[in-house]
Amino acid sequence: MLAYFARRLAFALFLVFAVSSAALVLARLAPGDFAAQSVGLDGRTETMAEARARYGLNRSIGEQYGVWIAHAARLDFGQSLLFDRPVADLIPERAANTAILAFTALLFATLVGLPLGVVSGSRPGGLLTGTIRAASLVLLSMPPLLTSLFLVFAAARTGWLPVGGMTSTTSTSAGDLLRHLVVPAAALALPLAALFERLQSQAMSGVIGQPYILATRARGIPRSRVIWRDALKGALGPVSSVYGLVIGTLLSGSFAVETITAWPGLGQLMLDALRARDVYLVAGCAAAGSVFLAVGTLLSDTALALVDPRQKEQIEVRG
């Protein structure tokens, strides 16, 4: 078990290193660079050259990469060109904002999506199942940009909730944060709840048909208990297998949701960094994203092992 975790950890570190290196190289390969953008079209060549030298962009890709690696080994991830602050300060700050959003959305999606999936999966027909299914399909087919814009629009029209932003100028209370959290978290949570609902529904309907369920019912156990205890236990596989991944993706942030709702998170940062060709920030963001996903996949595999005992055993099938 320990060896397994150690292996996974080693790989996770390698993954972080590989992805951030790839991101840095890709950002350098992309046309244009930060200096050109910041100096702009009316830059004289000397000004451009000086800006490049100041930002360290006049070095070759290999050289710049080498310098970055050497610094990164000492946990110095460079200075963001765009914000002129250390990358190591900028990313945790934004990641924390996204994390708040991510966990709220996850909570809501799990609490709403899973039970609804159980319900719709255990009753094949009927109005309730049909409604749940239709709602899920609507949410799954809507682009996140549209969902977020619609929610912000609704917030502006009704005046019940703040129109974007993370906090108010005056207030630092948790209540204020919660009010601002509703719209972006809903934008993230609704499609996610739909996904969970569909996955769970699918899994439930597969399990319900099993003879052991029939047998349990035949023994006189009440239907609701059979569904919520016995069937559910066997049907958590699919959701568990994607759960960690979902966590990882949520923590990396959704650019569309964060931009529309003016939530200063990691998703927004990643794309702003790319647009500005801020190579160090790009590498840092990619590293953060890969950390989250590595943790996410680990969580997923662990959850799966816990939920489905068959995953733990490794029977050699070869004869």
């Binding site: 094949p124 799954l140 682009p143 699918q202 309907s205 699919p238 297998s241 790319l274 099938v317």
Partner: protein
């Protein structure tokens, strides 16, 4: 239910293929002076109650800057049928037939929806099929073989999952030539989406295959002499049908929208080629919600596609245990599964 889904899907695809006939106008035809015009609803009865051949009422632009139109119910414009190879258009060139209104360039939304279906449906269905194929293969092999192969495949898939697609796309764009013909863009996007979507599928399939592998029916099949590939494809992978159904329903709209996102780094279909993703992207404005809701019709179209797919792939739920398609495996499974209390 299933047949309804298939029919719906068939209708949508047929509509896409028949776009040059069904659409009143070409997808890139701009009507000057009709920016964001409201829909012209066909009527057969006028306000006085008299019956006519299908007609539309005339709209007039009352304020150009505010894009306000007023309907003139005294002016009827008849539809002309089978004119110029198209089923229906307006008989009066001064009042075009806008079944779903016009977009911000004055282009007929309904026509663009039909032409856009070719791109969006085509791209997302092919890309999803690709993602499912690659993902199922990778996940299946990983889950079945276990050990080092499993590790390697999963780690590669993790790397693909984590690498931000936008970064790759931007770097890729700069290497390609400046003017990309639509076919090349199609192939490129399909490849990118298939690769990006595969890891998600792979993870889920792997988990399912690993779990199913332990089941006796798999062992039994092997002991009966079935080869590994056969066991994997015929017996284990079908267990992932349910999971794949959900993933497909999730990926198809995501790819349709993804096309619009990738066009931000220059890797999309150039204007004026219509696609549902770009149409929705252009329609994502405050004004669209408030005043021009017809611009959001591609979202309804996407929902129809998702609905159709879901209906088609919905595996039967509480079906009698012994009457299923893959009979032998299920029968074996049913007889050997331990009862839990």
């Amino acid at each position: 239910m299933r047949t309804f889904g298939l029919t719906l899907l068939g209708v949508l695809m047929a509509a896409a293929i028949a776009a040059p006939v069904l659409a009143p106008y070409a997808g890139d035809r701009q009507f000057r002076g009709w920016l964001n015009a409201p829909p012209t609803v066909p009527h057969v009865r006028d306000d006085a109650g008299a019956w006519h051949a299908p007609f539309i009422y005339k709209w007039t632009l009352t304020n150009q800057l505010e894009q306000r139109y007023e309907q003139d119910r005294s002016q009827r414009v008849a539809l002309s049928w089978l004119d110029g190879g198209r089923i229906a258009t307006s008989s009066d060139p001064r009042m075009p037939l806008f079944l779903l209104g016009a977009d911000s360039y004055g282009r007929d939304v309904f026509s663009r929806l039909l032409y856009g279906a070719r791109i969006s449906l085509g791209l997302s269905l092919v890309a999803t099929a690709g993602a499912v194929l690659i993902g199922a293969l990778v996940g299946g092999i990983a889950g079945y073989a276990g050990g080092a192969a499993d590790d390697l495949l999963m780690r590669v898939s993790d790397f693909v999952l984590v690498l931000p697609a936008m970064y790759v796309a931007l770097a890729l764009r700069s290497v390609l030539r400046l003017v990309l013909p639509p076919f090349e863009v199609f192939v490129l996007l399909t490849a990118i989406f298939a690769i990006v979507g595969a890891p998600l599928i792979a993870r889920g399939v792997r988990a399912i295959v690993r779990s199913e592998k332990q089941r006796d029916y798999g062992v039994a099949a092997l002991s009966l002499g079935a080869g590994h590939a056969r066991v994997l494809v015929r017996h284990l992978l079908p267990a992932a049908r349910g999971f794949l159904a959900v993933e497909i329903v999730m990926l198809v709209p995501a790819f349709m929208v993804g096309e619009a996102t990738l066009s931000y780094v220059g890797l999309g279909f150039p204007d004026p080629i219509a696609s549902w993703g770009t149409m929705l992207h252009d329609a994502s404005t405050v004004r669209a919600f408030a005043d021009f809701p017809w611009l959001l019709s591609p979202a309804a179209a996407m929902f129809l596609v998702v609905l159709a797919l879901n209906l088609v792939m919905q595996t039967p739920g509480i079906a009698p245990v012994y009457n299923t398609a893959d009979g032998p495996a299920r029968r074996l499974r049913a007889n050997t599964h331990p009862v839990r209390s």
